[in-house]
């Protein structure tokens, strides 16, 4: 009994390690990721039947690959139109030897990259892209994805079925995009990975353990992508951003689960190993000398905080200028508001107030509680308490978060 469960845990581990490679290699032949994924699943079922009795093979990845390819041939033989493909795969099966996986890393890399781009194809909605990526690249089970996203198993299963169908209907080719298409397609991939990361990062204490696991999953995916596409600065930018954000995981909530703001965090609780990795990834992005992208700039911002051992050591001038860069590549009033805060830290509250007053008319900021809250903060520092009180009260009336509302009303009361 004990032996069986241990074999099953090994099969689980092998599956998570090898499934993406198996699906990717199959997809290259059958030109249909949905079909490739089903064949890989068939191979997994075969492993679950045979390995507990016969033991785990020496090269389990090659075993899964060979079995899946045989299933593919069986299946395709039943369809008359695929004669040519049968020949191709037939030849390939002969070539698969236990050591084949070692010598063809580059080919596997191309297939994996194609699989990532296909799973994150923009014809799919975000939820479908996320589910497909976790399923086919992370090797997660449908139930695990469901636990992580707090939805039902059948919802995830349906999402995946529909996504595979949408890819087939759209005739999405199994390839790595080139030329001008690459940038938009890569942006779609990075968006999916960062979404997975944030889903895990926003998990709270009572949540299923699978939710925080999403952060680790996104980090691994990002690191894998950085090795597959080392010349894309934004990939390293995203990895840097995730490593640095993950480094704060233990410091960002208090004993009661309440959020602790960045400047109030106990920096000895930061994971300095991850910070070092993040800074290194940032250097890799910089060394490529490409125009700064949004992930790179956000990572550079995170790095300004990570480099400061104490909150007082923060380089606010650099933060302010980075927000200016970010405002140019992805303009938003929120970025401007952040820049105003950085300016006030670097040059005093008057500088911050000037920028806030400049953007106060922006449509997107109407009804946004942080605008009056930040403005109130600057006014307090300038000694204009009466005006500050009004701003905090306004902010309190705009927020829907009760804890925040109480805090803002306390600040308003403190202005008397």
């Amino acid at each position: 009994m004990g032996a069986t469960t241990s074999v099953h845990r090994t099969i689980d581990a092998v599956w998570r390690m090898e499934s993406a490679k198996v699906i990717a290699a199959l997809a290259r032949y059958v030109r249909d990721v949905g079909l490739a994924e089903e064949m890989a699943q068939d191979a997994l079922v075969a492993a679950l039947e045979q390995w507990p009795a016969e033991g785990v093979p020496k090269n389990p990845g090659a075993w899964l690959m060979t079995t899946a390819k045989r299933r593919a041939i069986d299946q395709i033989r039943r369809r008359e139109n695929f004669n040519r493909k049968v020949e191709e795969i037939g030849r390939e099966v002969q070539e698969v030897t236990p050591d084949a996986s070692e010598g063809i890393e580059d080919e596997i890399g191309d297939d994996l990259l194609s699989l990532i781009f296909t799973a994150c194809h923009p014809v799919l909605g975000t939820e479908a892209r996320v589910a497909l990526t976790l399923k086919m690249l992370g090797g997660l089970k449908t139930e695990e994805i469901a636990r992580a996203f707090l939805v039902s198993d059948s919802t995830v299963a349906q999402r995946i079925v529909r996504a595979k169908k949408a890819l087939a209907d759209a005739g999405v080719p199994f390839e790595v995009p080139e030329g001008p298409e690459l940038a938009t397609r890569l942006a779609s991939v990075l968006e999916v990975i960062y979404l997975i990361f944030n889903e895990g990062y926003s998990a709270t204490q009572g949540d299923h353990w699978m939710r925080p696991e999403l952060c680790a999953e996104a980090l691994r995916l990002g690191r894998v992508l950085a090795e597959l596409a080392p010349k894309e600065a934004e990939v390293h930018g995203l990895v840097a951003l995730m490593e640095i954000q993950a480094s704060r995981a233990k410091a960002r909530t208090g004993p009661g689960g309440e959020p602790v703001l960045l400047l109030d965090q106990d920096r000895s609780k930061w994971d300095w190993l991850l910070i070092g990795r993040g800074l290194k990834a940032l250097e890799r992005a910089e060394a490529l000398n490409q125009p700064p992208g949004p992930y790179y700039v956000q990572a550079a911002l995170a790095a300004c905080h990570a480099r400061a051992r104490k909150a007082e050591d923060t380089d606010w001038q650099r933060i302010a200028s980075l927000y200016q860069v970010l405002a140019q590549i992805s303009p938003s009033p929120i970025v401007e508001l952040n820049r105003a805060v950085a300016l006030s830290m670097a040059f005093g509250p008057a500088a911050g107030l000037a920028l806030v007053d400049e953007i106060a008319g922006e449509k997107a900021l109407q009804g946004y509680h942080l605008l009056p809250s930040v403005r109130g903060d600057f006014l307090v520092k300038l000694g204009r308490l009466k005006e500050a009180k009004g701003e905090f009260e306004k902010a309190a009336s705009l927020t829907r978060n009760e804890r925040e509302k109480t805090l803002l009303l306390e600040r308003a009361a403190a202005c008397d």
Partner: protein, 76 residues
Amino acid sequence: MRFMVFVRSPKPLAALHTDTLLRAGVLLDAGDLVPHAFGVSGYWLIDVRSWEEAVERVRRIPLPACVVEIRELPVV
């Protein structure tokens, strides 16, 4: 889950054999130690999903004869 993998060998091996772990996105750190007759000669620090995965990952590394010890890091 983080695991520290200690390599015992007469000559340092760990820093040379990082490729497989790196490509898999699980390697956090690696290094060699000053040689010490058949003692620990180097280490890998990896982040994987289970003990079984740690074992399987290490088994994939094409190493010459050596002894490897896999230890889990506590979650603080």
